[in-house]
């Protein structure tokens, strides 16, 4: 009995272990039907979100989708017009930011220019009236954790971007918040530092067991860092799921496109039982996909990623049904380029243009066939 509990705990430590059990009953941080208005403009249109203790959740979306507004509502800098925000079952919707036990890391870092690194990191502890020696010890510990040992006496103006970012993170971690909120903290760093800081932050968060909500517009950043990704579109949640979920099983046309399946083809299909039968068209073969509970009939939007398909010379009867049920498109190469690793081709498929990667290059003007495996094809009803 005891062993199984320990085992379960161990399993939960694994990536995504907590969240894969689905919607939790005892969420640590809960956003319930939050609506936020800026004047007449509804920025959040009833958002529901549950975050478990120790989980790392990324809010992902393009600019203006409401992700920062959601984060600021959680932090207490925006008051929702309706709805509630709960921490550990306690309603904090009406509480000011300083009473919520959260720490926000700002995109601009918002370090206080008149204080040294030590004073910036130690400020939250000073507010908690900790003895000087304790504060000093904690600040030293944080500095060691973040590799800021030698910089304690410097002012923020004399730090590099990466160092400022770490001071901002250290300041937030020093108060040992229940919830760490990160507002695009990596977007002002240059690309190479960004990659290492990503891993530093997730490693720290796991080690300290902090619940974290991270706002980003960078798809890869969200995929790499988060246990669960919340994709926001136009003030609403488009999909919540693990990185594999949102990448391989996008719930909507928007999510598919946002997660990189930018190639769009229009098809027509009928659902028969658990099979979606795609009708052959002037540029595509007939194909079969499993319905997985969906009823897709009539015109469809089909999306796929350029790197998950196969490109080959157009054979004879390419538009006939293939044995594996995969979809084939026929087109003409219009443009090629070599971005590194794979060759990139712009291919005209009837009126549409798709971008497809291939290990070998096909010259311009050649007729080619694109094979899209069933798992790489995302089908949505056409709006």
């Amino acid at each position: 009995m005891e062993r199984s509990i320990i085992l379960a705990r161990l399993c939960n430590k694994g990536r995504g272990g907590l969240s894969q059990r689905g919607i939790s009953l005892n969420a640590f941080l809960e956003v319930v039907n939050a609506r936020v208005l800026y004047g007449q403009n509804e920025v959040l249109k009833g958002v529901n979100l549950a975050v478990e203790k120790g989980e790392f959740v990324a809010l992902l979306g393009s600019s203006g989708c409401g992700k920062t507004t959601l984060l600021r509502s959680i932090a207490g800098f925006n008051t929702p017009a309706s709805g509630a925000i709960r921490v550990n079952g306690r309603d904090v919707t009406g509480l000011p930011p300083d009473k919520r036990g959260m720490a926000l890391v700002f995109q601009s870092y918002a370090l206080w220019p008149h204080m040294t690194v030590d004073q910036n990191i130690g400020y939250g502890l000073k507010l908690r009236r900790m003895p000087k020696a304790t504060i000093e010890a904690r600040v030293t510990e944080i500095k060691r954790l973040l590799g800021l040992d030698a910089l304690g006496a410097r002012k923020p103006a004399n730090l590099s971007g990466g160092q400022r970012q770490r001071v901002a993170l250290g300041r937030a971690l020093a108060i040992q918040p229940d919830i760490l909120l990160l507002d695009e903290p990596l977007s002002n760093l240059d690309a190479r530092i960004r990659l290492t800081v990503r891993h530093e932050i997730t490693a720290l968060q796991r080690r300290l067991g902090i619940t974290a909500v991270h706002v980003t517009h960078d798809r890869e950043e969200a995929m790499v860092m988060a246990d669960r990704i919340v994709i926001l579109n136009n003030g609403e949640i488009a999909q919540v799921g693990t990185p594999e979920d949102v990448y391989n099983r996008p719930a909507s046309d928007f999510v598919a496109a946002f997660m990189g399946a930018e190639n769009l083809i229009e098809l027509s299909a009928v659902t028969k039982g658990d099979r979606v039968e795609i009708a052959a068209g002037s540029f595509n073969s007939a194909a079969v996909a499993s319905a997985r509970g969906r009823t897709l009939s009539g015109p469809l939007n089909a999306r796929f990623r350029g790197e998950s398909v196969e490109l080959s010379d157009a054979g004879g009867a390419i538009l006939s049904v293939q044995g594996d049920g995969s979809l084939r498109l026929s087109g003409v190469v219009e443009q090629t380029s070599y971005p590194g690793g794979l060759w990139r081709h712009v291919i005209a498929v009837g009126p549409a243009h798709v971008i497809v990667d291939s290990p070998r290059s096909f010259e311009i003007g050649r007729r080619v066939s694109i094979r899209i495996p069933e798992e790489a094809l995302f089908l949505f009803p056409k709006q």
């Binding site: 000011p96 930011p97 300083d98 926000l104 700002f106 601009s108 370090l111 300041r171 937030a172």
Partner: protein, 270 residues
């Protein structure tokens, strides 16, 4: 190779010379008068130099030191009262979405917009009813109406220049609004506020008209002493008093120049 003389420099030199004379001529005359014992028409320079009038000014009977004391006391009170009003007002104008924000800023200019004399005569009349005439408090109030424009405008600019996220970061770390203001906003705004304090101080130190109508003859500030001495033909006393007034002005201007950063200046009146 001979360096060619640029003839354009002749009018420029003349213009600069005239400008320098306009600025420094009166100052040189003032300095000369402070060390003059005897000087009358038609002599170009004083006949006798000496410091006997300095001894006169700084003697216990000379009034200058007590006037200086009164002036500094009034200026200090004016600064405290102005900043006490300007800090909350400036913060509110900078941070809150106040209706008629522009109008409020403009309203502070009104005391300056009308001719001083009628305004002060009427203030004196009103103050007379409340027994404020001839009191330090009365003079301080007049100076505050004068200094508040600088104080509020500069304080508003100083607070506007502070990134709101710096305050939010303090809140996020657990500081109450007041604590965050005290620990973060105020120290960052301090240079701007110091500059506005200096403006108000100098404005009060120099102020004549209002002091004359509200304060005289019971309250004697340095400018009033200067006026009396000048009107009595005692140019030595007047010049020495003027010099005493000039010293803090110049000293403070250097301080202001250092502290008033361009990001604050660019927000004045916005």
């Amino acid at each position: 190779m001979s360096a060619r003389f640029d003839w354009k420099w002749i009018p420029r030199g003349i213009a600069l010379g005239i400008l320098a004379f306009v600025i420094f001529g009166p100052l040189a005359n003032l300095l000369l008068w402070t060390v003059t014992e005897r000087w009358y028409f038609p002599h170009v320079l004083p006949l006798k130099y000496g410091f006997s009038f300095w001894a006169n000014v700084f003697s216990p009977r000379g009034n200058a030191m007590s006037s200086l004391g009164t002036s500094v006391f009034i200026a200090t009170l004016t600064v405290i009262l102005s900043l006490g009003l300007a800090i909350p007002a400036g913060y509110a104008l900078a941070r809150l979405r106040l209706p008629f924000r522009g109008l409020i800023l403009l309203a502070l200019l009104i005391p300056q917009a009308f001719p001083n004399l009628p305004v002060y005569v009427n203030i004196a009349r009103i103050f007379y009813q409340y027994g404020l005439n001839g009191t330090i408090l009365g003079v301080v109030l007049v100076h505050v109406t004068h200094g508040l424009v600088y104080a509020v405008w500069i304080a508003t600019a100083a607070f506007s220049a502070i990134d709101r996220e710096l305050e939010e970061a303090a809140r996020s770390m657990g500081a109450s609004a007041l604590r965050g203001f005290w620990d973060v906003t105020l120290p960052i705004a301090a240079p701007g506020l110091l500059a506005s304090a200096i403006f108000v101080f100098l404005e009060s130190l120099d102020e004549f008209t209002g002091t004359y109508f509200v304060g005289a003859p019971d309250v004697t500030t340095l400018p009033l002493l200067l006026y009396t001495a000048g009107a009595g033909g005692n140019y030595q006393i007047a010049s020495i008093t003027a010099l005493i007034l000039l010293v803090p002005s110049i000293a403070f201007m250097f301080v202001v120049e250092r502290f008033l950063r361009s990001d604050v200046l660019s927000k004045v009146g916005h």
